[in-house]
């Protein structure tokens, strides 16, 4: 995370002109090597965190580094979360946010359950679920780009809406009978991986490579970053901002639906609120991966590493007698540390000033301001 001269803002505020945000302490990287230096910095910290976590896990439990633990407590548990983190990365990079992706998962799961219980052929069911996901994303994209509404507010609304549609489709029903050939995708290991990787994990690896290449080496990916840096400049440079953002939301919907299909097959259960609690962990992992909430900054590699740190830490804690309901403390602590550590020095200096009673603004000419009643 970078220090912003502007105040901490909610989600997807448009980035102000560079002259305003530019902090004198951290000059904006001007060359590619400058950008890479920053990236290496954050990602190497994640690598160190990952090594420490794995070492810690191996030290506390002999089970930690076994194939069965990695398969059932890492790959299976976190596959869908990892897949949803990828499109979320792109959306946050473009300066927007999508809080509805986990509800798209639920909607897709409900559709799979409902249609397959009505004896639709499974390939058709999967196509319908994926199409529904794209439609959800399209609606988000149109609301955000064509009506110019703030994405944070829109996707809070559609998050509730999609989960609501999911409840309308399935009601209180829980569908648990699915063809064995498909539930095997959810619970069996991918062939030729020695029982280590689930289908969802393999899919995540493939998708991560694709997303990485698209983001870092194609005009589309670079335009996403450009939009996140400065929307106006991107517009003037000829990037079709609205179209790119709509495409990102559709991609997000598609990935949410894919995660929903995997989720349904893994648990052999379709329920109206499947996976809806995953939304905040998904956002947390992306931010932990060094993606700036203001957009424009971040890498797929960082997010992949953050996913690994998150999974291994949670799985290590699962093997101890830690209260499994309190596991999310890991998410919270990691998130907070990830934004505090990089700027620790500055924060300490500012904390001294803050405690000293001068406020965080620069000493102003109006020195004799009366103390406000809130103090």
């Amino acid at each position: 995370m970078q220090p912003e001269a502007a105040l901490p803002a909610v989600g997807a505020t448009p980035r102000p002109p560079a002259t305003l945000t530019q902090s004198p302490r951290e000059p904006r990287p001007t060359s590619l090597s400058g950008k890479f230096r920053w990236a290496l910095h954050w990602e190497s910290a994640l690598v160190v965190a990952l090594v420490l976590t794995v070492a810690l896990g191996a030290a506390t439990s002999a089970e930690f580094l076994t194939v069965s633990n990695i398969f059932s407590n890492v790959c299976l548990l976190y596959g869908e979360l990892a897949i949803m983190a990828l499109p979320t990365t792109l959306i946050i990079l473009s300066g927007e946010i999508d809080l509805s992706i986990a509800s798209t998962l639920a909607l897709s799961s409900s559709l799979v359950g409902y249609l397959s219980s009505n004896h639709w052929p499974m390939p058709l069911v999967i196509i319908v679920a994926l199409a529904a996901g794209i439609a959800c994303g399209l609606l988000n994209g149109l609301l955000v780009t064509r009506l110019n509404l703030p994405s944070l507010a829109v996707t809070i609304g559609t998050m509730t809406l999609y989960e609501g549609i999911s409840e309308i489709i399935l009601g209180p029903a829980i569908i648990t009978s699915f063809p064995a050939a498909y539930t095997a995708i959810g619970v069996k290991a991918f062939p030729a991986t020695g029982g280590l990787l689930s289908y969802s994990a393999v899919l995540f690896i493939v998708l991560a490579v694709v997303f990485g290449v698209v983001l870092h080496a194609t005009p589309f990916g670079r335009s996403v970053v450009a939009i996140g840096w400065n929307k106006q400049a991107a517009q003037f440079a000829g990037i079709r901002v609205k179209r790119v953002k709509t495409a990102l939301y559709m991609l997000s919907g598609l990935m949410g639906a894919l995660a929903g299909i995997l989720y349904t097959f893994r648990l052999s259960t379709a329920e109206a609120d499947n996976g809806t609690t995953l939304i905040l962990p998904v956002i947390a992992v992306v931010l932990l991966g060094g993606v700036s909430i203001f957009g424009g900054k971040g890498t797929i590699l960082g997010v992949v590493l953050a996913v690994l740190v998150y999974c291994s830490l949670q799985s290590a804690l699962l093997l101890t007698n830690f209260n499994s309901n309190a596991l999310e403390i890991v998410t919270g602590a990691l998130l907070l540390l990830s934004v505090l550590i990089p700027n620790a020095g500055e924060i300490a200096a500012r904390a001294r000033r803050f405690a000293g009673g001068h406020g965080t603004s620069a000493p102003s000419a109006k020195g004799g301001r009366p103390p406000a009643s809130a103090q």
Binding site: T13, L149, G164, E167, I168, L280, S373
Partner: protein, 368 residues
């Protein structure tokens, strides 16, 4: 850093129609059926956002009552109020934060922590006065809010990230403290449990107290320097900084207020539901943000009132109850809530565009 998107063509006329029913024809286009003065009247009414929410509220109550007369039974009204109270209170605190272009996602977790710890005091300390329990809840909330505020103001980390993190941390602390246990109603004194149920006719005393709190909040935000400065910060952070507003302090205290209110709401939650485990207030945060947004508070700060936010909470509670009374399956609730939120922000955006246009037109007329 312009919060509201600049005026664009496509929205015109495509936005939702005004719910007040004043607009004959399409209000986005010059219409022969509306004279200039009546359009101004419409604009003046739209400018007071609360009127719109009250109008929607009235429409819902009227429709629900005409279909099912027992909707306005005192018992039913009481039920709506008791559902809305906690959300309205949380929406009040959330608004204070949102006005300065921040967000507090940790309110549900703070509520949970406060609900358990404060109600547990009844079995820990014999004959503890109820006021002391409320103060304990308030103190827990203030402490949680102070942590949020300190990190946001001092570390200048986006509040979305900070409160997302503390949402997990406070909830995990709650889970670790509660373990598998829970506080049950039999350990709570009767006087405590009767707080939410005692009422003046169909209106619970608590609703009156919350309305009073909201009124005080509205007055402070509208008429006192710190309140005005929160609006200034939300409207334009850079200008606010240049104007010498102590942004860090204002933002810090806005989180403290939000936390304190969530702490109080936790005690009320405990009194209302009687059974408190570690899931109290789970997933409340997004509903509270939704109530604030429906209440006409701009999610990017700078505009909106606590009265609107509280009405937004009341509206959501009324609609859910109306759907129930009308016999619509409760499975439709979230979908309708979601559609309503999307509609509310679209409407809000349309009103903003319209007002901007009206102001510009007025300025031109004045000049000529």
């Amino acid at each position: 850093m312009s919060p509201a998107p600049s005026a664009t063509g496509p929205v015109q006329g495509r936005g939702p129609q005004p719910v007040e029913g004043h607009g004959a024809g399409n209000p986005g286009q010059p219409s022969s059926t509306l004279t200039w003065s009546s359009r101004r009247l419409l604009d003046a009414i739209l400018r007071v956002r609360e009127v719109g929410i009250v109008a929607v509220l009235v429409v819902f109550v009227a429709v629900a009552t005409s279909v099912q007369p027992r909707f306005i039974d005192p018992q039913n009204i009481k039920f709506v109020f008791s559902n809305a109270i906690i959300y309205a209170l949380l929406a009040l605190g959330e608004t204070v934060v949102v006005l300065s272009r921040n967000v507090d996602l940790s309110v549900g977790s703070v509520l949970g922590l406060s609900a358990y710890l404060s109600s547990d005091l009844f079995s820990q300390v014999h004959h503890i006065p109820i006021v002391a329990v409320f103060l304990a809840g308030l103190a827990i909330g203030l402490a949680c809010g102070a942590v949020n505020g300190a990190v946001v103001a001092v570390a200048r980390v986006p509040s979305l990230v900070v409160t997302l993190a503390t949402l997990y941390i406070y909830r995990a602390i709650d889970v670790l403290i509660v373990g598998g246990g829970m506080v049950v109603a039999s350990t709570l004194p009767g006087a405590f449990l009767s707080i939410p149920t005692s009422s003046l006719g169909p209106i619970p005393y608590l609703a009156i107290a919350v309305a009073g709190t909201v009124a005080v909040g509205a007055y402070v935000l509208a008429s006192f320097r710190p309140g005005r400065e929160l609006y200034a910060i939300g409207s334009n952070p850079d200008a606010a900084r240049l104007a010498g507003i102590p942004m860090g302090k204002r933002i810090f205290w806005s989180f403290v207020v939000s936390g304190g209110i969530a702490g109080l709401a936790g005690v009320l939650w405990a009194a209302t539901y009687g059974t408190i485990d570690s899931t109290a207030g789970l997933n409340y945060e997004l509903t509270v943000v939704a109530a604030v947004v429906v209440g006409g508070v701009n999610i990017f700060g700078g505009s909106g009132t606590v009265v609107g936010a509280a009405l937004g909470a009341l509206l959501l509670a009324t609609i859910n109850q109306a759907l129930y009374v009308l016999g619509i399956s409760s499975f439709w609730d979230p979908a309708i809530d979601g559609a309503l939120i999307v509609l509310a922000i679209s409407l809000d955006h349309w009103i903003t565009l319209r007002l901007t246009r009206a102001l510009r037109k007025g300025a031109v007329q004045h000049a000529t």
